[in-house]
C-alpha cells in the first residue's frame, strides 16, 4: 500500500471538514477523490502531505507515519496544490530550478521524467510564471511537483478551470506517469474524469460515501435512468417534475435524465402524458449511467 488512511477526522473550530475517513491506495494506482468544492478533499491532501495535523486517526504514506516521519514523506512525495503555487515573478525555468534545488537535485538529473511535459512549455521558459495561460501554468506546476522523482504524486484539483482539451492532455500525462510506477492521488470536481481513475472515492461534506472502481460504481446503480428530450426543454423539465411517479428529474447534456419511482414503469404512459402536454419531437430511451448520476443520488 502506498497510502493508508485510518479513521481520519479534522475540524476547523466547530466545522467538521473530514469525518472518520478511511481508504487505501495501492502502489501504482491512480486513485481519485471525487467531490465538489467544500467536500474535504484539500484537507485530506494537506494531512497526507504533512502540512496539517488530523484531530483523530492515523495515516501513512509509503510506510511513513504522517506525524512521526513527516520529513521522509516530504522528500519522497510530489504535491501540486489546488491554488497555483508557483512564484509568479520567477520565470518558468527559474521556478523549476528553484524546486529542483530545494530537493537537492537538478533539472538535468530527472529530466527524463518531466521531458514530455516540459518540452511543451520550454519555448516559454524565459516567461514569468504569472504571465502563463491556465494550461501552461498547470503543466509547469506538474513539472515542479515531479522534479525530484517522487514515488507518490498528490494532485489537488489539477484540472479545475482548465478547458476540455488541456484536461484531456493532462490525463494522458498522468497515465504515462503511472506506467513509470508512480502512485497518484488526484482530486477533481469533474465527474467525467472519475472514469479515468483505477478506483475512486466519492466524497461530500467530509464523508466518504463510496469507494470502488468507476465501472463497479455505475454497474451497481440500482435504478433505471431514461434520456428524455422534446422541443421545449424548459417546459419539459417542468412537466416531468409534475409527473406523479417521478423520482428525480435533472438536465444531463442534451437530454433530461428521468428516474421513476415504480419498478414497473410504463414508458408508453409517460409518452402519452408528454403528448397531452403538447410536447413535440419527443424522444425517450434508456440512458447510460454515469458517475455523475450516482453521485447525485447519494
Amino acid at each position: 500500500m502506498s497510502i493508508i488512511v485510518q479513521n481520519i477526522s479534522k475540524s476547523y473550530k466547530t466545522k467538521k471538514a473530514v469525518e472518520n475517513v478511511s481508504f487505501e491506495v495501492k502502489k501504482g494506482e491512480i486513485f481519485g477523490l471525487i467531490g465538489p468544492d467544500g467536500a474535504g478533499k484539500t484537507t485530506l491532501f494537506r494531512i497526507l502531505t504533512t502540512l496539517l495535523k488530523a484531530n483523530e486517526g492515523n495515516a501513512s504514506v509509503l510506510g511513513f507515519d504522517v506525524i512521526k516521519d513527516y520529513k521522509s514523506i516530504r522528500s519522497s512525495v510530489g504535491y501540486m496544490p489546488g491554488k497555483f503555487s508557483l512564484y509568479q515573478d520567477l520565470t518558468v525555468e527559474e521556478n523549476l530550478t528553484f524546486f529542483a534545488t530545494l530537493f537537492g537535485t537538478s533539472i538535468e538529473e530527472n529530466y527524463d521524467l518531466i521531458k514530455e511535459i516540459y518540452i511543451q512549455i520550454e519555448p516559454f521558459k524565459k516567461r514569468r510564471a504569472g504571465a502563463l495561460s491556465g494550461g501552461m501554468k498547470q503543466k509547469l506546476a506538474l513539472c515542479c511537483a515531479l522534479i525530484h522523482a517522487p514515488k507518490v504524486l498528490f494532485l489537488d484539483e489539477p484540472t479545475t478551470g482548465v478547458d476540455p482539451i488541456s484536461r484531456k492532455e493532462f490525463w494522458e500525462m498522468l497515465k504515462r506517469l503511472q506506467q513509470k510506477g508512480i502512485t497518484i492521488l488526484v482530486s477533481t470536481p469533474y465527474m467525467d474524469e472519475a472514469s479515468l481513475c483505477d478506483r475512486i472515492a466519492l466524497i461530500q461534506n467530509g464523508l466518504l460515501l463510496k469507494i470502488d472502481s468507476p465501472e463497479n460504481i455505475t454497474k451497481n446503480y440500482d435504478k433505471v435512468i431514461y434520456d428524455v428530450s422534446t422541443k421545449n426543454r424548459h417546459k419539459l423539465i417542468h412537466d416531468l417534475k409534475n409527473y406523479p411517479s417521478q423520482y428525480s428529474v435533472y438536465t444531463f447534456g442534451e437530454y433530461i435524465h428521468y428516474i421513476d419511482k415504480q419498478m414497473k414503469f410504463n414508458l408508453e404512459e409517460l409518452l402519452q402524458y408528454l403528448k397531452d402536454k403538447n410536447h413535440t419531437e419527443i424522444e425517450i430511451k434508456t440512458a447510460i449511467v454515469t458517475i455523475e448520476d450516482v453521485f447525485m443520488d447519494l
Partner: protein, 244 residues
C-alpha cells in the same frame, strides 16, 4: 417575428503590442437568448468579454451592447448589463444583506427598491434565516446563486457570466442553470462561458473561439450534426486544438 439584437459585434479586434488576442470577430446575440461563449484557455474569450462589458477598448472594429457602443458609451454599457465571474463576485467579509445593499447602491437603486429587492431575493433563494451571515461562510454553490441574483438587481437586459459554475457540485450546478433558464424565459439575455461541455448543450447557440477567432457558431444540435459527433465535448475537441 423579428429577433431583436442585443449584442452586435463587427470585426472586433484587440492587439497587445505584436500579439493579436482577438482577431476580427463578428456575431450577434438576440434578446432572451442563452449564448454560450466557449474556447480553450488562452483562446481570447476573456479579452473579447472585457471589450463587450466596456472595460477594455477595442483596437479596431465595433460592438454595441444593449444599444450602446462599447467604445463611445462604455459607462452606459456598464449600467445596462450584469456581470458575475468565478473570480470576482461578492464581498466575503460583508453579510448577505450588506452585499445586496452595497451592490444595489452601486447600481443606483433607491432605498425602497433595495429594501423590496432584498426581501424578494432572499426569499427566492431561501436565505431568510442566514441573511446576517457573512458571505464568506457560504458554500461555493450558494455564493454563486446569490452572486447571480445580485448581478440581476438592476434588471439588466443582458447578464455576462464568466465560468459561473466552476467547481460547484452537480446538483447545485443544475439549480444554477434552472435559474438561468427562468431568467432567459423572462427575456434577459444570458452570455455565458463554461468549461463544462454538458452545459454547452444547455445553450440556445454556442460559439467556439480558437486562437482569437470564432471558428464555429450555431445551435448545439447543428454543431454536432455538422461535425458528425454525438456530444459538444467531441465538437470542442475537434475544433479547439491547443494553440499555446
Amino acid at each position: 417575428m423579428e429577433k431583436e439584437k442585443i449584442i452586435a459585434v463587427q470585426n472586433l479586434t484587440k492587439k497587445f503590442g505584436d500579439f493579436t488576442a482577438v482577431k476580427n470577430i463578428s456575431f450577434d446575440v438576440y434578446k432572451g437568448e442563452i449564448f454560450g461563449f466557449l474556447g480553450a484557455n488562452g483562446a481570447g474569450k476573456t479579452t473579447a468579454m472585457k471589450m463587450l462589458i466596456g472595460i477594455s477598448n477595442p483596437t479596431s472594429g465595433k460592438a454595441t451592447v444593449a444599444g450602446f457602443d462599447v467604445k463611445e458609451k462604455a459607462e452606459m454599457v456598464k449600467k445596462n448589463i450584469g456581470y458575475m465571474s468565478q473570480k470576482f463576485s461578492l464581498y466575503d467579509d460583508l453579510t448577505i444583506k450588506e452585499n445586496i445593499q452595497f451592490f444595489g447602491g452601486i447600481y443606483g437603486l433607491s432605498r425602497t427598491e433595495i429594501k423590496s429587492k432584498t426581501e424578494s431575493l432572499v426569499k427566492e433563494l431561501q436565505l431568510e434565516t442566514i441573511i446576517n451571515s457573512l458571505v464568506g461562510s457560504l458554500p461555493l454553490g450558494w455564493k454563486q446563486k446569490l452572486s447571480f441574483s445580485v448581478a440581476l438587481l438592476h434588471e439588466p437586459k443582458i447578464v455576462f457570466l464568466d465560468e459561473p459554475t466552476g467547481g460547484v457540485d452537480p446538483i447545485t450546478r443544475r439549480q444554477f442553470w434552472e435559474m438561468i433558464y427562468s431568467q432567459a424565459y423572462k427575456g434577459t439575455t444570458i452570455f455565458v462561458t463554461t468549461h463544462y461541455m454538458d452545459e454547452a448543450e444547455y445553450c440556445d447557440r454556442v460559439s467556439i473561439m480558437v486562437d482569437g477567432k470564432i471558428e464555429a457558431l450555431d445551435t448545439p444540435k447543428n454543431l454536432k450534426k455538422h461535425f458528425k459527433v454525438d456530444s459538444m465535448n467531441e465538437v470542442f475537441l475537434k475544433l479547439a486544438r491547443n494553440v499555446e
